[in-house]
């Protein structure tokens, strides 16, 4: 493989930064959640790149675990968003300023 590993790391850093901007700027709770997924994927890409760089598979195993945790997190998060939507009839984070039901 001729491509330097750091190129993959730079792509991963850019995706992470884009995800950060998405979380901060957008107001639709679903799109904020998608941006968080983008950040998780960026970190996974960095982990796999480091695994290649160091020549062992621990990074890939960690990326695998992070995918499992992301799947669990998505399921719970989407259920919470649906519940909030049922109460407020809105998925905008501006409308959910108090935790009280």
């Amino acid at each position: 493989m001729r491509t330097p590993i750091s190129y993959f790391l730079i792509v991963s850093a850019m995706l992470f930064a884009i995800g950060t901007v998405g979380v901060l700027v957008r107001k639709n709770a679903l799109i904020i959640f998608m941006s968080v997924e983008l950040q998780l994927n960026a970190v996974n890409l960095a982990l796999v790149s480091f695994s290649r760089m160091h020549g062992n598979l621990d990074g890939q195993v960690l990326a695998f675990f992070s995918m499992v945790v992301a799947a669990a997190e998505v399921v719970v998060g989407l259920a919470i968003i649906v519940n909030v939507y049922r109460r407020r009839q809105s998925a905008s984070v501006d409308d959910v300023s108090v935790l009280r039901g």
Binding site: T3, V21, L30, I31, E37, Q60, V61, A72
Partner: protein, 193 residues
């Protein structure tokens, strides 16, 4: 020009471009579709990096299961709602983009300081580490060194499934003995809204 270089330079702009396009979509369904494109490009990167198992898992779990769940919820909540462009906090968008650029720059310099820009992978990765195929090598690591965490993730998945069943179930109506109908906490607020 070696093949992996070509693949990288074809897919890296697509990856970053689809992420930025996701950021600017007003419609949530379009944003989800761009995110799926982005997940596919990341899976191609996994293939280039020699992680063929994660390539398959990325497509099946992320692009398949998770994004279908997202699309399902978007459709469930209604796709015609567009978010307002009113800023509740003054200058919040400009500050957020500045902060994002700051994060990108910081990571950029961290990569330069930490690994340098011309770091090559060890040339014998496929022979030495992926011996017998990536799946076999990965399972060897997973079921020897990481067996306990692997079992813990199964507990985590069961807990998540139970939690979602509790969260998503509509509260049941409770009938008291006197015949008057009292409701548990949720239905009263539904009547008022």
């Amino acid at each position: 020009m070696p093949l992996d270089n070509v693949v990288f330079w074809v897919f890296a702009p697509v990856s970053v471009g689809s992420a930025i396009a996701m950021l600017f979509q007003r419609n949530a369904v379009h944003a989800a579709l761009f995110l799926i494109v982005n997940f596919f490009t990341i899976s191609v990167f996994y293939l280039v990096l020699g992680a063929s198992f994660l390539f398959a898992v990325q497509i099946i779990v992320y692009a398949g299961a998770i994004m279908v769940l997202f699309l399902f919820v978007i459709m469930l909540l209604g796709v015609d709602r567009e978010e307002t462009l009113v800023e509740r906090l003054k200058g919040h968008r400009v500050l957020a983009i500045t902060l994002g650029a700051g994060v990108a720059l910081e990571l950029f310099f961290a990569i330069r300081a930490g690994v340098g820009f011309a770091t090559k992978a060890p040339p014998s990765f496929d022979e030495a580490v992926n011996s017998g195929g990536n799946v076999v090598a990965l399972s060897r690591v997973l079921f020897r060194d990481y067996f306990f965490p692997f079992e813990v993730t199964s507990v985590l998945l069961i807990v998540a499934a139970v939690a979602v069943m509790v969260l998503a179930s509509r509260p049941r109506r409770v009938f008291t003995r006197a015949g008057s109908e009292t409701t548990s906490e949720d239905t009263t607020s539904e009547e008022t809204t």
